[in-house]
Symmetry: C2
Subunit: 194 residues, 2 copies
């Protein structure tokens, strides 16, 4: 029996805080019942004043039923003073950077656990370049959003550097946020005015 086969047959134990057996059981359940894979995430937002608003992330639908987050998550967003706000929250576009880092990081822990690698540290820095002449309506040649995003991961664990790099790469290749940011997604806007 080759080592590869032995590895494939040995059930992975929980590792990196990832319940690997449950992760594999979940993947198998979705394979058998694809409808379980359909999720709908939601947020609601309320304008307070100026560029300041507050959002709530409370519930989602998935695996065939409604779910309520165990905490009712709330987030603020604002513009800083240099962009004529009061800096009571990050700018909306900064949340994309957090989402990107968090998504690839969660995937790294999952992929490492699935491959039997124990991680000791994963840190990342992410930055996005934007030319505000677009959104300020000053130049039609400049886009409204980021022109480019860069993210750098520092990863350490009980595997050779090349294997650690492959784990990051595999997480990137399966990241939901990376996909949305790089490939875009249709967004429908509806308005009720009155």
């Amino acid at each position: 029996m080759s080592e590869v086969t032995a590895t494939a047959r040995r059930p992975r134990e929980a590792r990196n805080g990832v319940n690997t057996p449950v992760l594999f059981a979940t993947i198998n359940a979705v394979k058998e019942t694809p409808a379980l894979a359909k999720f709908r995430f939601r947020a609601s937002s309320r304008w307070i004043d100026g560029t300041y608003s507050e959002s709530r992330v409370e519930s989602f639908n998935g695996a065939g039923e409604e779910h309520t987050h165990q905490t009712q998550f709330g987030f603020a967003a604002d513009h800083p003073a240099v962009l004529v706000g009061q800096d009571r929250g990050p700018t909306p576009i900064e949340f994309l950077l957090h989402g990107l880092a968090a998504c690839i990081t969660a995937g790294i822990a999952n992929v490492a656990a699935a491959r039997g690698v124990t991680l000791t540290s994963v840190e990342s820095r992410v930055e996005g370049d934007i030319d505000l002449r677009g959104l300020l309506g000053i130049s039609g040649d400049v886009r409204n959003g980021y022109e480019r995003i860069r993210i750098t991961f520092d990863i350490a664990g009980d595997a050779p550097p090349e294997k650690l790099r492959e784990i990051v790469e595999q997480s990137r290749a399966r990241s939901a946020v990376f996909d949305v940011l790089t490939n875009g997604v249709p967004v429908d806007v509806s308005i009720n005015a009155g």
Copy 2:
């Protein structure tokens, strides 16, 4: 003198919590010195365990200098139990929904102030559909990220419904987050492993 000309010449007062004179002064300053429009936003992230990570949004570069947010903003992200996490934060991809709602909402307040419209209420609901067979690696035909996002705005203020709708539409047309989500952006990933 036509009404249009009179409107253009009358300086807008602060409205909706937007310091409209400063907003116009900022736009004019950027018109004269385009380099002021260059901004670089940042976040840093640290894996804690499982799918849980924490990000910080602390500083940015823009208008030719470094800026520190007046609060060191921190955000968690996790997966819920149904996705083999502990639900200690929203999922990373839910932050995209918050960012989208907050970005268009901030723009609505700015555009309304610029057009002399006083708003009484702006609320939105945003949802994203995702089929997890993509990111779970079960189907190569399913993308990793959202298949579609929908956002609905309820807006009220001292203008006719059609004018309120135009304000939302103008904000959407200039939204940085809407642009990134619908058109995508190049993302460079670097890895330091060891």
